[in-house]
Symmetry: C3
Subunit: 150 residues, 3 copies
């Protein structure tokens, strides 16, 4: 490990700390979404976050819109007797000098019919900008693309 000695080793350790924090952030955030905890989920975004996903006709801005969109989806799934799980990973993380964090990741959405089968529903790429608000990470902008769309 001599190559990484001194400042290189400190930077590597700091990156490791950040990387774990990012993973924990996403795991918790996506679990909140899948639990239907729309309000708590929305609070992992900044107050004025932009959220651009293919399932919405246009980008949403701000938490009330986030809550509305995910509450609607949760209600539709419950009515259809289905469960969705968002499995996110493959985090490509880079930190800017000002502490803003760019994360490009893959998210697989699995759909299960209660009493039926489970299958892959969507394969997505998620590009986020994370910022710190009172020390904690929040999503400032999210842009999701789906592999099955042109």
């Amino acid at each position: 490990m001599t190559i990484q000695a001194g400042i290189g080793q400190q930077a590597a350790a700091a990156f490791g700390t950040l990387y774990a924090e990012v993973q924990q952030f996403y795991a918790h955030q996506m679990q909140l979404l899948d639990l239907g905890e729309s309000q708590r989920w929305a609070e992992t975004f900044t107050e004025d976050a932009t959220f651009d996903v293919p399932t919405l006709p246009e980008p949403v801005r701000g938490r009330p819109g986030l809550v509305a969109a995910t509450s609607r989806t949760a209600a539709q799934l419950a009515e259809a007797g289905q469960r969705h799980r968002h499995f996110i990973g493959m985090f490509d993380v880079s930190e800017r000098p000002d502490g803003t964090v760019d994360v490009r990741s893959y998210a697989i959405v699995y759909a299960s019919v209660i009493g039926g089968d489970s299958q892959v529903h969507r394969v997505c790429v998620c590009e986020d900008v994370l910022v710190r608000v009172e020390g904690a990470l929040q999503v400032a902008t999210r842009r999701v693309t789906r592999d099955d769309l042109a």
Copy 2:
């Protein structure tokens, strides 16, 4: 990184260390399961661990029961010419003051027919309590739910 200075930074670094340890623990544990290494897999649980999964008629307690259950599954898969892989991730990790670690994660089980196709078999949520035994993590209790079951 000024926000995280001092004690906050130390706590973040300690969490990063724990988070990596948890990930390594699960990767190794699930690989042992998929390799059919039932005995070594069972040793990643405490002596008196409880294991509550939908595939078993009732919760198992203790390593001999764990070995029996997974050996049976391994034999059935071999006979059917199939392979299963347990892909676990999405770790939501929190450590209690006494060092016990709560982990809620997602586990996707993939099934492949040798000479055939691969597909999603099960989508599961895994809730574990991990404890330290001689410094190493072990599962004290595991409760798994399946998305396709009510």
Copy 3:
């Protein structure tokens, strides 16, 4: 955390740093592959790396062969109107005394038809030997097996 005090705690912290580095390495490498960035992808391997995967008739050695193989695959996918994503995880990581890193992981390949469905394409086990070149990790040898093949 008293059990991990002293040298144990330092080793755990060093492992955490390495584990994050390994995860970041694979996330970035696989994203380059899926983006069709064959040249930059090949540069994440050593100059004389060996690459042994079931899709190739025989193992490839060296970057020009890697670029050729992946460029061919990228062209075929584009022509077929499909996208592949390599979702790798489940890293079982161990470092040798000389700094070489052994990594056994699972890689799921998802295939999406543009304008159609997404599904699991392949379930693979990836066994790599990583080395450091000027401080950065590179793959020296990769051996991939597919669950659907005998």
